[in-house]
């Protein structure tokens, strides 16, 4: 304090201050130049890769199409494809009779001729998703603790559980389904195992990330009182991650309903098989009917589970 007043106006302190501001300006300008250069290079690389991949995947291809007058001419694939989609949608539209109510219902009956069978299969899909979610929650939950950096009892256990979770979520459900169909034959059981195994990997990963963000103090308290590793996890960690676990699990149920509808394609139970058959037989109106039923169901499930999730999060907030 004293030295400043003594030093007077031409103080070396002031000079030093000026030069440090200059130095700051210089460094700032430098940093800005550097960040501009990085940005420029980044953009060029991004654009180059973008065009390379689009070209590679055939976005710029030209295809021969039949025109209105019957002649054939080359066209860019994208508009050519869209004109085919037109066709597809028209084929999916049912012929509905709007002249009278009884006629209308009769034509609807025609469209949804397999409603009972389809709803049954959809229910099967939902049950597969339900079982698979429970399976996934249970094993994902148990494995998430040894798979968390902060909780793993040792490195070996940590790496083994991590790798196991990784494998089970990297292999797609369809591939697991094929493997389980080979092992146990076609049917819902293969579906449950396939979707469940995949869900276990995905949930285990999410749960373990939640575990890695907890406070370690409660666990230390349990440990200091003589609690085992399991006690520390049960009393110290689980209460902290429960809300996350519930939220992730409900979300996973929604995802699993979609997954369990798809795996029917290869014969692992559920509505997927019917979808596949309709596609094979080119029964386009069946396809649209199943599609509508499916969309409505998914909508209801998503809506319900979202309500439930918010309810639970709300409860958490209040207490």
């Amino acid at each position: 304090m004293a030295s400043i007043t003594e030093a007077g106006p031409s103080s070396p302190l002031l000079a030093q201050a000026e030069s440090s501001i200059d130095a700051f300006e210089r460094e700032f300008a430098q940093a800005r130049r550097r960040s501009r250069r990085v940005w420029l290079i980044g953009t060029v690389v991004f654009l180059a890769l973008f065009f390379l991949t689009t070209w590679f995947s055939g976005f710029f291809d030209v295809r021969m199409v039949t025109l209105e007058d019957g002649s054939r001419a080359p066209r860019w694939v994208i508009p050519a494809g869209f004109s085919l989609l037109d066709d597809f949608v028209v084929k999916m539209l049912p012929t509905l009779d709007f002249s009278s109510w009884p006629g209308f219902w009769a034509s609807m009956d025609d469209w949804f001729w397999g409603l009972e069978k389809w709803l049954g299969l959809l229910l099967e899909s939902i049950l597969i998703a339900y079982m698979a979610t429970i399976f996934g929650i249970f094993f994902g939950f148990c494995l998430s603790f040894p798979a968390s950096r902060n909780l793993a009892p040792n490195n070996f256990v940590y790496h083994v559980t991590r790798r196991f979770l990784e494998i089970s979520r990297t292999v797609p459900e369809l591939v697991w389904a094929l493997i389980f169909i080979f092992m146990f034959g076609p049917g819902p059981m293969a579906g449950v195992l396939a979707v469940g195994l995949h869900a276990q990997g995905a949930l285990g990963k999410l749960y373990s990330e939640a575990n890695e963000n907890i406070s370690m103090r409660p666990l230390e308290g349990v440990k200091a009182a003589g609690g085992s590793w399991f006690d520390q996890v049960r009393y110290g960690a689980v209460p902290q991650v429960i809300p996350n676990i519930i939220s992730y699990s409900l979300l996973r149920f929604e995802i699993n309903v979609r997954a369990s509808s798809i795996i029917g394609f290869v014969g692992a139970g559920g509505i997927g098989k019917e979808f596949y058959t309709a596609l094979q037989l080119q029964e386009y109106t069946d396809l649209s009917a199943i599609f509508i039923i499916f969309l409505v169901t998914i909508g209801i499930i998503d809506w319900g589970s979202e309500k439930l999730r918010h309810r639970i999060i709300g409860l958490e907030g209040r207490t």
Partner: protein, 268 residues
Amino acid sequence: MEHASLRLENLTRVFGQTTAVDRVSLDIAPGQFVGVIGRSGAGKSTLLRLINRLIDPTDGKVTFGDTDVTTLKGRALREWRRDCAMIFQQFNLVERLDVLTNVLVGRLAGRGFLSSMAMQFSDEERTMAIQALDRLDLVPQALQRAGTLSGGQQQRVAIARALVQNPRIMLADEPIASLDPGNATRVMEALRTINKEDGLTVLVNLHTLDTAREYCDRIVAMRAGRVMFDGTAVQLTDDVVRDIYGSEGLEEFNEAVTSTAARVRETA
């Protein structure tokens, strides 16, 4: 065994370059109320953690009666931790569980896997927990979430948890450092009561000299991992403190925010 004394022999713990605890030897008689003082980084917390075996020593050993604590493993180690209860500056409660369950955590050592995973406790254990809470005037809060209590209440819950462990020794790592003076006094009084009524050995880390003087039969002062002073409160005069820590060290102690007594005496 019940009246065994705690003995530290050349206890040492090294973290990389720093020797947190450096050849500490102490003999603590049963029923003593011992305060450990020292500046931040002196190794006080490390010393308590070594005793409770939350960390393992690099060298030296801890014995309790005939038991060599440093070689314990598995169940025996967990039982030692139960016998040697510990409370922390930040309470270390499970904030999302209710107070009663937090206290029952003190009963976990050596119980069955399934009943502990199911959080099932016997009626005797619940009674024990309620009695402990009653000693600390916390029965009305028994079913409240621990996280909703005030700091002082949380620390008393931690003491109740320590009590149901039926410990022989009570370790406290700066139990009042995050409390206001009123709560700090209540917590220190609770420790004193336990020491007097149950005859428990208490070993407590403190930041403030006057608290140590007020409550402790014996004061151990540490600096850079070593014991610099070991004696009674009367022997620890301001001159001795200045000798050990220098005058800025003395100020640091006396000006610490948390203190159980409003300090009037100025040491300049």
